[in-house]
Symmetry: C2
Subunit: 247 residues, 2 copies
């Protein structure tokens, strides 16, 4: 019977894990930095005293974590990756989708977290936005108004410009991850069109940030997300009913 995994993890460290940890530690300690090239696999295998397949299992594990990357050829080899916000957000989103699937996080929790982060990002944006930020936001607003979109998540682009304007790259990362998670979960939902209301609210949010009114930005983003949540939730409920009726 599978499932009693906690009982099995009895301290044993597999060889490839030992090596992966070793390399990982070299990076954490600064001994290896982004862009650095590792020795060839045969050389590394020799140094660690293991075979090449085993060494490669360690390398592939670190590649999966976006810590290393490899290329063929003489100028190739294995390199330490440059950390990248988008990749981190992407991985995080994948994990959150799984967590959602296991019912260890609910749709409501996701939306509350989204609201928490976006509201604050908007407040910060009102205080820190540059002229360039405003241009970007307005550009997205006008582009969206011209589009005839069917999907629900096109307006995410606008929300991302808010995050950018907050000039907090960690809040941006969290926000991106939550957006990707919600988009992934809702992939095949039919989301009703709330285009016009949504776009009106986008302009109101833009206005608040333009005026540098943080409190107003908070309120308007909150209101906008409440609307969006009710629309999203409605689609989820409809979907559930459909599935219940069919099955």
């Amino acid at each position: 019977m599978p499932g009693n995994r906690q009982a099995r993890s009895s301290g044993k460290t597999k060889t490839f894990e030992r090596i992966a940890s070793s390399i990982r530690d070299s990076i954490l300690s600064g001994e290896l930095g982004p862009g650095d090239r590792l020795p060839p696999e045969t050389e590394l295998a020799r140094r660690f005293g293991v075979s090449r397949p085993t060494l490669r299992e360690a390398l592939k594990a670190l590649e999966a974590l976006d810590v290393l990357e490899s290329f063929t050829g003489p100028s190739g080899g294995t390199f330490v990756s440059t950390p990248d916000s988008f990749g981190i957000a992407d991985h995080l989103a994948s994990s959150l989708v799984l967590l959602f699937g296991a019912e260890k996080v609910s749709l409501e929790e996701l939306w509350v977290a989204r609201e928490t982060i976006e509201v604050r990002a908007g407040e910060l944006a009102a205080g820190r936005r540059t002229e360039r930020d405003l241009e970007a936001m307005l550009g997205v607003i006008e582009e969206d108004e011209g589009k005839d979109y069917a999907s629900y998540f096109p307006d995410i682009t606008f929300h991302r410009t808010i995050a950018e304007a907050s000039h907090n790259r960690l809040l941006s990362l969290f926000m991106l991850a939550v957006h990707m998670t919600l988009a992934s979960i809702a992939r095949d939902y039919v989301i009703p069109d709330a285009k016009e209301l949504s776009q009106r609210q986008h302009r109101l949010i833009y206005e608040a940030i333009l005026l540098k009114d943080g409190a107003l930005a908070r309120r308007r983003i909150q209101e906008h997300l409440e609307m969006a949540y009710s629309v999203y939730q409605g689609a989820v409920r409809r979907r559930s009913r459909e599935l219940a009726a069919r099955g």
Copy 2:
């Protein structure tokens, strides 16, 4: 010259990546669920039409992502992992430490994100806390007062009880990740003792949550974190001066 990695990613998909994606998709689509056992490696290799080492590279990549886990023995095999908040937060924290090291996120951004999440968690906690939550918080407060700690991050336990009391597992996850990141960055800093002030503020926060006063909880957590940030920042600056003087 290494570093021109964007030019190299020319669409080629390596075999082990193809297989990892295939298995990953089976999980995302629900075809494979947590606890499910995969066929033996030789069988899997045969099905995918690859050799066992190549297959194993794919499996090890997914193990590194905490998506799969494997055990030896007749009852062993490769299993789909149960997603786990703590593991996700841990991975996220590792990535954030790297991101910080690459100067793609600053200490200030980390603290603003921490404040954003904790303030909101406290507000939510004030509205949703149960008797059990209150007991847990008080227990930690009293335990901390009895401890003679040297490290700066002992009071993180209290902050975690706030997150728990918010009953939002995603905010808890984010909070944990940010805490672990800050703790990892500050590992060898000498943090001055702000024990008594900190503990007084903890009691005030507890009181606000006890009274179900969300606005008050917000203000008090904000104040507490501002104090903590100034202490932390002072330690970082002192550390920088030391390093500058030495080098």
